[in-house]
Every structure is written in C-alpha cells, then in structure tokens.
Amino acid sequence: MTIRVLVAKVGLDGHDRGIKVVARLLRDAGMEVVYTGLFQTPETVAIAAIQEDVDVVGLSMLSGAHLTLAPMVVGALRAKGSDIPVVLGGIVPKSDLEDMRAAGMAAVFVPGASAEEIMASIIEVVSASTSETI
C-alpha cells in the first residue's frame, strides 16, 4: 500500500526549504505527498488531513511555535474523531522532546535528523497506526 502523507506549515513561519526538500524525498521513496502551503491553522490542517485521507501528518516548524501549535493539531484531529498520527520536525530542541511526545506526537525529528531516519520513522509510525486499527 502506498503511504499518503500531508506535510504542513502551521502558524506564521515561512521557512519552507525543509518541508519542500523532505516532501520530495518522501515522493522519491514512493509516498504520495500533499502540501497545503503556508500559514495554515491547526483546524485547516486537521480538515485537509481527513479530507485527503492521509496516513500521517508531518509538521515542519522552525519558529519555536511548536510548543503551542503542534499539540493543537493533534487536538483538532482527535476532536474530529480522527486517529491520524502526527510527526513533527524543525528547530525542536531536545529538551522539548518529552513535552512533544506527551502532547501526542508519534515522532519528533530534531535538527540534524537524516532523510533516512525521517523515512524509516514515518513508515514505522504508519504501520503501527494501521496495525492498531486492524
């Protein structure tokens, strides 16, 4: 089965180099990738993820707003009854890892994470979440 990924920029952060590069690498690896563009809210991301029926949502945040906004994306999905897993990457200090996992991130990629790690982790997250639903 082909993995479908929604990659998203939430909030005001315009740094889109990372998300575009990662999106293309995911495509190269055979995944289907949807990108909804800049300045999204947790609500618009949740709606798009459900409508596009993706297997996983990938957030890219470099402004420090992940502490507030990443948990809100998970919250918006769950409030709509969706269990789509959410992963997060960007400028996330290691000291935030615990908080982010507690807030429901299925995986967090800190600065320096390699493309291989991201790929492997997404596959793992998706297979874990689909096996739960079986």
């Binding site: 952060d13 180099r17 590069v21 990108y35 800049l38 402004s63 507030t68 400028i91 200090p93 390699s114």
Partner: protein, 546 residues
C-alpha cells in the same frame, strides 16, 4: 587624471583617505603595501570596483560589527542591545518576531505561540520607544530587518526618535524593505506584489527627500541562499531585485542617482570559501557596470555596491555545535576577504534556538579575532590576481548575466516586470527549491561531507549546550503591554489616523509615510495599520507547489 595610469589614480585616492592609527606590517615586521597588482590593472576604489569600493579599504575603517538580535519584549531586546554595545558592537540590527514580520498584533489569534520567539514583538510606539531607550540614535546606526510592514516600522522609528529630540534627518540606518525576496524566498509576505511595491516606492521617495543618512532598502540575497539557491542564483536574483527597485523609483519620477546610492546589499557567507569571495567580487563588478551602462547612473556612489554579510545559518549543525564556531570563522573570513562593509557572525547554538548571550559574545569575538589578530585587514583584496579567484569571479559574472537575460526576457526588457512575473509564476521559488533539493540529495548520497552529520560523528552524544528559552510568559507579558496601550490611548485620534491612512491608501499617487507617522504617534497598532491597508490592497496567497 586621464593621463595617469591606474596605479597613480589609485595612489592619489589612497593618499587622501584617512588611515587607522596602526602599523601596516606583518607580525614579523615585513612592511605591507595597501594593495598589490600590476600598474595598469584594476585597483580598489576604481570602476567596476571588483577589488573593493574604497581605495584604502580596511586601512581606513574596519567593517561594522553588526550583530542581529531580538527576542521577547522590547525591554528584553533593549537589554541585549546594550550588552552588544558594551561588548564592542558598533551597530544594531533588529530581529522581529513572526507576528511583527507579518504585521499582526501580539493578541491576534494567528500570533498564538509565536510572540517574541524569533525576535522582538513590536505592536506600537510604546514598544519601539522601549526598544531604543538609552541608545544614542545619532551615533549608533540601526538596521531593521523587516519587509512587509517596513513602512510601518520606519514610521514608528521616526516617531520615537523625534519624541526623544533626534530629527529624522539625523537618523542613520537601514530598513531591509526588500519585499521581492519575500515572495521568492523568505515568504513573509502580506499584500500582493504590486501593492507591496507601492509601499516600497513610498519609503524610497520619503527617505530620499527627508532622511539623507538612511538606506532605504537592503537588497538581500541572504534569504535566497538560505532557502536553498546556488551562489550564482543568490548573486543574480539579488542584483535583479536591485535593478527592479531602481526601475520602480524611476517610475515614481526619481533619478537613478537619487536612488541607487541609498541601496545597500546583504549577502550570505556560505562555507565554500573561494566561491563566496568570487561572488562578492562579481557582485560589485556587475552592479557598477549595470548601473552605469544600463541605467545611466553618473554618480560614483550609484556604482558602488556596499554590502552587509551574514554567515550561513543553514551551514550550522545541531551535532557537535562547537564546530559551528569554526564554520562561522571561515565564512566570516570570506566576507572580509571579499570586502564586506558590515558583518554578522552566527552563534554556535543557532541550529537549536536563538543564541544565548554567551554564544552571541563568542560570535562577536570571532569577528574581533579576524579584525585585530590575523592581519588580513592590512591589504585590500588580497586574493585579487589569483588565477583561480579571478576565473571564479568571471564565472560568477557569466552565470549571473545568463540569469539576468532570462529574467529580462520574462519582463520583455523590464527587470521589474520580470521579477513580478517570475514571482507570480513561481519561477524563482521553483528554481530555489530545485537547487535545495539537489544539494540535499548530494548530502544524502554521501557526495558531500558535513562534519558531525554524515561523517566524523564521534562526540555527537555529548551533553547539550545551555540554550536560550523563550517561555509563554513572554507572550502574556507582551499581550499585557498591548492591552495597556489600547486602554490608555485617545480612541478619537486613533480613528482619525486610520481614516487618513485609508483615504491615502486608496489613491495610489499619495505617499503613505506621513499618514503612517501620524498613526504611529496616535498609538495605532501595527496590526491596525496593516489591517487598514489590507482592506484596500488585499492579501497575497502563494499557490503551494512542491
């Protein structure tokens, strides 16, 4: 001077330049000439300035060590500014937070979680006043790194300075105000391109008339490069944006020689040492040639490309962050050997967070080592005449010219139209993303080594650095400050100022700066001013592409 050779012409200029009071010799006492080269070659201070814009370069004056800073509330950043000045920094450069960069107030729902994180939050005159408390605005130059709301920030800056008794014509500094690269690379845009360019036009015309010491635009390649472009793309896109602003000002009735001397430039210093030096040399040569031959500039100041440099944030690694000090030093050295006028050095911890005070100090110290210990400042353009560097300079020039031709063709002869069309058709954005992808693939395939990332990883599990933490408390504090402003201002003045701004915005012939300054004085907030203009101008939406 027609009968003098290049050397004699240079010597005449050199002799009349002021010199720093130091001995120009090597550590072991070998006396050094101010520049080396054949008598009929090109010398610094001579058209097309490949070798530098001044005849005496750093013998007269070192570059300005301008450290970029901003976080939390205006009070927090004011404290950091004073630390920078105390540590020997000579210029300030203000980093704004995301809501401010997008013209939103700190209590806007979209600002949630972003206030004070990436820079300082500025909502009103109160914040701008506190930001520059006890800083001598007549002697310290200030750079404000902001684009979509640049005109609003300039208005606030003028309003607070005039309150303190410093007239606008005394103010020296730079507004980044380079909106074109926002659509191309940095992506902090608000209004559609043409409406944004009207605001840029207004700031150019206003500063040309009223602020003789102000640089109206810092044409910035930095963000283009950080977004993933190649060196030649950074060079070409930046200069083309510069050409577009010159064309814009001409449409507004200004002469090229009234505008071009007020444009300064801002380039990246990436890790490929010689390519960066060649890029700066080519930039000066290309700008001078195009200003004189294509745009008809006759004032030497219009030909001279002056630039600020920042080391490459994107080259920093989270792994073994101390190694970033070495990267930054090498990049900064390229900026200096390339003849930069001012320099910001990144801190070792910036792959992880905003810099801690200690890391920022080490970054400034790195510049001081280059300036005061290495002796590289004694001789102008020390790499000039190197077969390799000269050829690489020519190659950068050729590649940039090829890109100029493409953009000019898109605009049917107009660089301004070519830029706007290229933005609207995602041409710039696509090229930058393509280059970023190609570079990333070369890392992933192991064709390029990054120390600590895909090789030499021993030591990666060492303890983390102490990093600067911005808490949600700062956001609450700032929202509190904004509430105080809203409660204590005269609402009738606010409404009047907003009406004036709206009326002026409707007429594209009117310069918006006076209305923005009036609104600033009435404590109209940044979000309110931008909101009033958005009603007239509309909002830009980028079509997402991968």
């Amino acid at each position: 001077m027609a009968d003098m050779n290049a050397y004699d012409q240079w010597l005449a200029l050199y002799k009349t330049s002021a010199k720093r009071d130091v001995t120009f010799a090597t550590m072991s006492g070998v006396p050094l000439d101010p520049v080396y080269g054949p008598e009929n070659g090109e010398f610094p201070g001579q058209f097309p300035y490949t070798r530098g814009v001044h005849a005496s370069m750093y013998r007269s004056r070192l570059w300005t060590m301008r450290m970029f800073a901003g976080f939390g509330t205006a009070l927090d950043t004011n404290r950091r500014f004073k630390e920078i000045i105390a540590a020997g920094g000579q210029g300030l450069s203000t980093a704004f937070d995301m809501p401010t960069l997008l013209g939103l107030d700190s209590d806007d729902p979209m600002a949630l979680g972003e206030v004070g994180r990436c820079g300082v939050a500025i909502d009103s005159l109160t914040d701008m006043r506190d930001l520059f408390t006890d800083i001598d605005l007549a002697t310290i130059t200030t750079s404000m790194t902001i684009n979509s709301p640049a005109a609003v920030m300039l208005a606030l800056f003028i309003a607070q300075a005039e309150e303190k008794g410093v007239a606008r014509n005394q103010l020296g500094g730079t507004l980044q105000n380079d909106i074109l690269k926002e659509y191309q690379a940095q992506k902090e845009f608000v209004f559609p391109p043409r409406q944004s360019m009207r605001l840029v036009r207004d700031t150019i015309a206003f500063t040309a008339a009223e602020m003789p010491k102000w640089n109206s635009i810092s044409v910035s390649g930095y963000h283009i490069r950080e977004a993933g472009s190649t060196a030649a793309e950074e060079l070409a896109f930046t200069l083309v944006n510069g050409f577009a602003y010159v064309e814009l000002a001409r449409q507004a009735g200004l002469q090229v020689d009234e505008v071009a001397p007020r444009l300064s430039f801002f380039f990246n210093a990436h890790i490929d040492f010689f390519e960066e030096i060649a890029k700066y040399r080519a930039a000066r040569r290309l700008w001078a040639t195009w200003m004189r031959d294509h745009y008809g500039a006759t004032n030497e100041l219009s030909w001279k490309l002056r630039f600020h440099t920042q080391t490459a944030g994107v080259s920093l690694t989270a792994q073994q962050p101390e190694v970033n000090i070495a990267r930054t030093a090498i990049e900064a050295l390229a900026g200096v050997l390339g003849g930069t006028q001012s320099l910001h050095t990144n801190s070792m911890d910036e792959a992880l967070a905003l810099p801690s005070e200690r890391a920022a100090r080490t970054a400034l110290r790195t510049q001081q080592v280059i300036a005061y210990e290495t002796n590289v400042v004694n001789v102008a353009d020390p790499l000039g005449g190197s077969w390799f560097v000269e050829e690489l300079t020519d190659e950068m020039t050729r590649q940039a010219e090829a890109i100029f031709a493409e953009i000019s063709a898109m605009g049917e002869g107009s660089m301004l139209e070519g830029c706007i069309k290229g933005i609207e058709e995602n041409w710039f954005q696509g090229r930058i993303a393509e280059s970023a992808y190609n570079l990333e693939r070369s890392f992933n395939q192991g064709q390029r080594i990054v120390v600590g990332v895909n090789d030499f990883t021993e030591g990666n599990d060492n303890a983390d650095l102490e990093i600067l933490r911005i808490t949600n408390e700062d956001e609450l504090k700032q929202v509190g400050r904004l509430n105080d402003v809203r409660q204590n201002r005269d609402e009738s003045k606010v409404l009047l100022a907003l009406e004036e701004l709206t009326t002026d915005a409707i007429d594209p012939e009117v310069n918006l700066m006076p209305a923005l300054i009036n609104a600033s004085r009435a404590y109209v907030t940044v979000g309110e001013m931008m909101g009033a203009m958005e009603k007239i101008f509309g909002r830009h939406i980028e079509v997402p592409t991968l």
